[in-house]
């Protein structure tokens, strides 16, 4: 139900006369702004989401002379980006909840409530979220400007007797708390699994054990140092996130990235995606106890880590991205050699895929397990390979190309079953596509500078977007006059997919839980920030 962008303004203004003011044209960053009064916010957002088919990107809250709430939406290429903006006076903290109509906004509003102290009227579940109530005092709002991030906050002595609340109250109901330290090498997360017999009735993750306050500690730092933080949102997708941050700053300061740097960035981003997906495949094999297959995937992952390390100096691409390009030039011969190594690794990966597709005991654990339907996936705002396994195909490389992806030939693998096996196939498919991109760009890297000659920072705000290995990642950055970071909002794919994780975990047997968790390939570090 796409409509012309020019008509959108007219439609919005006739629907909500006097309450909405919409731009008639996109700005240079493909963004299209709709300013509306707070009471009209849920209806306007729902119009974009339900009637016009936009995806919900995320919520950016900014504290200035007035509160500014910015709901981000993106559609297909011609639909562009839409920013729905509502402003509140500084003393006003109540705003109607959008999540009553768009469930994807649920966690965004809970987070804003917890960290800014805003109240979203009509939201059913505010409270204990990012800041755990057993550790933190009530009414601390660390994202407010008045909060000093350098001093330790006054925390409570943790309550050793904290227990999760049991919701399911039928006969035979059993509550199983797992974590935050569980399994052999996993990020900290707590699961409240409520079971009756073998089936998990309710699976609620309690996250943010790895909450490092990155959005807060970024404030007041130089734009260049922001990349140190962006790389460490999630170490396994460091390049994608630093790329998102770079693109936002480059938009603000109108920095032209040289063609060579753009292609090298594609190269690194796709190698990272490939390595991440191999790691995800390894996790899935391991969760089913198929150790030989897991070991085969682990060999490939380590090979790819070594290729990255030998080529760029760091196995996870830390310190590679710079504002306006890269910190080092990569040698053309070394790139060709690396592309050849990648090709060899991927041929072993497709052999693994072939063998797995014939292992019936392995497939039994994945097929018809952890199903997520297409409408649920859209309702919960799932992104990345997880969404594409459920038939939601939107990929930012295609929808809103950056770095010249519009000139790169690749497919976006998509499945419709939405079960564990569909997710595994998407991981294999995307890994093969990444290898295809690496191979294609390696032989045609333009000569020239690897970094913009001069970078002069100025004030402004912009959105940087990138299709990270786990899905759409959005970086909203506002710089002050001297190029110092004023606001850094990080919207990560894991944040969206953890929200939808219970869709897959509930209704399935308890023994399938670790397998379902592995097929989602979630990162707590990326979620918690």
């Amino acid at each position: 139900m796409a409509i012309e962008l020019g008509q959108m303004a007219a439609q919005a203004q006739t629907r909500w006369p006097g309450r909405v003011r919409a731009d008639t044209e996109q700005d240079a960053d493909c963004a299209y702004r709709i300013e509306c009064e707070p009471q009209a916010l849920p209806e306007v957002c729902n119009w974009l989401f339900s009637d016009l088919g936009y995806s919900f990107g995320g919520l950016v809250v900014e504290e200035a002379a007035r509160w500014e709430l910015r709901y981000l939406f993106y559609g297909d290429r011609e639909q562009g980006w839409v920013h729905v903006i509502a402003r509140l006076s500084a003393d006003q903290t109540r705003v109607p909840s959008v999540s009553t109509l768009i469930h994807a906004a649920d966690w965004h509003e809970r987070e804003a409530e917890d960290l800014f102290g805003l109240v979203f009227e009509g939201h059913p579940r505010l409270g204990d979220f990012v800041l755990h109530n057993d550790t933190w005092q009530e009414n601390l709002t660390p994202m407010r400007r008045s909060f000093d991030d350098r001093k330790p906050a006054a925390w409570r002595t943790p309550d050793s007797d904290w227990k999760p609340r049991q919701i399911v109250e039928e006969a035979g109901a059993f509550l199983m708390p797992i974590g935050p330290i569980y399994s052999t090498a996993t990020g900290p997360a707590h699961f409240v699994l409520e079971t009756i017999g073998e089936d998990v009735i309710r699976a609620q993750p309690r996250l943010f054990y790895a909450y490092r306050g990155l959005e807060k500690i970024a404030q007041g730092r130089a734009a260049e140092d922001l990349l140190l933080i962006a790389e460490r949102i999630s170490g396994t997708s460091a390049f994608a996130h630093s790329l998102g941050a770079c693109q936002a700053v480059e938009r603000i300061c109108r920095i032209e990235v040289p063609p060579r740097a753009r292609v090298l960035r594609v190269w690194a981003a796709e190698l990272e995606r490939l390595r991440h997906h191999v790691g995800a495949i390894e996790g899935i094999c391991e969760s089913t106890g198929l150790v030989v297959a897991a070991a085969q995937a682990a060999i490939i992952e380590e090979d790819l880590l070594r290729i990255s390390g030998a080529l760029t100096g760091h196995r996870y691409f830390f310190g590679l991205n710079a504002l306006g390009g890269l910190t080092i030039d990569l040698d053309d011969c070394a790139l060709l050699h690396a592309a050849w190594q990648v090709k060899a690794a991927v041929s072993r990966l497709s052999e693994l895929e072939r063998m797995l597709s014939m292992s019936s005991s392995f497939l039994d654990r994945l097929e018809e397990v952890g199903n997520v339907g297409a409408s649920d996936a859209r309702e919960f705002g799932l992104v990345g390979p997880v969404a594409r396994a459920s038939g939601v195909s939107r990929d930012l490389r295609r929808a809103h190309p950056y770095l010249g992806y519009e000139r790169v030939d690749f497919d976006v693998p998509c499945e419709t079953e939405g079960d564990g096996y569909a997710r595994l196939r998407v991981f294999f498919g995307e890994a093969a596509q990444s290898a295809r991109i690496i191979s294609a760009v390696s032989s045609s890297i333009p000569q020239g500078a690897f970094r913009a000659p001069q970078v002069s920072l100025g004030a402004g705000a912009a959105l940087g977007w990138v299709e990270a290995p786990r899905g759409a990642a959005l970086h909203w950055i506002r710089l002050a006059d001297d190029g110092v970071v004023d606001r850094y909002r990080i919207i990560t794919p894991s944040f969206a997919n953890w929200h939808g994780f219970r869709l897959g975990a509930e209704r399935f047997a308890f023994q399938d839980f670790p397998i379902i968790l592995a097929t989602f390939a979630l990162s707590v570090h990326e979620n918690d920030r």
Binding site: S160, G213, L214, G309, F318
Partner: protein, 245 residues
């Protein structure tokens, strides 16, 4: 299922021969800046440009505190006079709490050491490198190291990440639940000094604030071989790296 057995056998032995023979493959370690005999304005600008204060000026020139280094490469890339760079991976040193007691766990732990990995709030890179220890290249089982999910079975705790406020209590409880004798290996710049994250309102400045740290493994993240060296140091099967700092 026989296809998997054949596949496994066909793959052959991939394991590194470390610690008996040094590993020389490319890309196993990011390396560290080395102490460089350099003075004057060039040295001062390098020290000032280090975002985590890992560089300092000493009588020998530019000194490097590996514990604080986060591999941003600013002291070599784009620098007028790049610092020297050292490869290698045997970086583990005895921590402040390990110095006062014999750091060896002793003979009973020679070939069967159970390790509890606690992620106290890192970015996931350190944790991923810990996971690589179980891949066929590093294969920690051949050295008698095993990961365990429970503190009750653990001899060594491997902590990664700057300890967040939410994990502080869990980390302490896990340490207290471990039977004695026990040792703690802290891996990664975040676990040693807070790294990029700490100290702040939510992150501390290292695991040593919460649990006594016997062995420190610098790196951001430390590569698998460096973590392996740290574990070997913790059980007294490898000497710690030389020098101070």
């Amino acid at each position: 299922m026989s296809q998997w057995v054949i596949k496994g056998l066909r793959t052959g032995i991939k394991s590194t021969r470390y610690p008996n023979v040094a590993e020389t493959a490319a890309g196993v370690s990011p390396g560290f800046p080395a102490e460089t005999n350099l003075g004057g304005a060039l040295a001062e600008s390098l020290v000032a440009g280090c975002p985590t204060r890992a560089l300092g000026l000493g009588p020998q020139g530019v000194e490097v505190d590996r514990r604080r280094c986060v591999h941003c490469f600013r002291c070599i890339r784009g620098a007028k006079r790049p610092l020297d760079w050292e490869s290698g991976y045997e970086w583990a040193r005895i921590g402040a709490d390990g110095a006062h007691r014999d750091h060896r766990l002793g003979r009973p732990f020679g070939r069967s050491v159970h390790i509890l990995v606690v992620d106290a709030g890192d970015c996931g890179a350190c944790l991923n490198e810990v996971k690589q220890l179980n891949n066929p290249y590093y294969n920690m089982h051949r050295l008698g190291f095993f990961l365990t999910p429970t503190p009750r079975h653990a001899d060594v705790m491997l902590v990664v990440g700057a300890v967040t406020e939410h994990m502080r209590h869990a980390l302490r409880k896990a340490y207290d639940a471990m039977p004695t004798p026990k040792r703690v290996v802290a891996a990664g710049a975040c676990a040693l000094c807070g790294g990029v994250f700490g100290p702040s309102f939510i992150c501390g400045s290292g695991a040593a604030e919460v649990v006594p740290v016997d062995v420190e493994v610098p790196g951001n993240p430390p590569p698998p071989l460096a973590i392996l060296h740290g574990l070997l140091v913790a059980v007294g099967r490898r000497p710690p790296a030389n020098g101070a700092g």
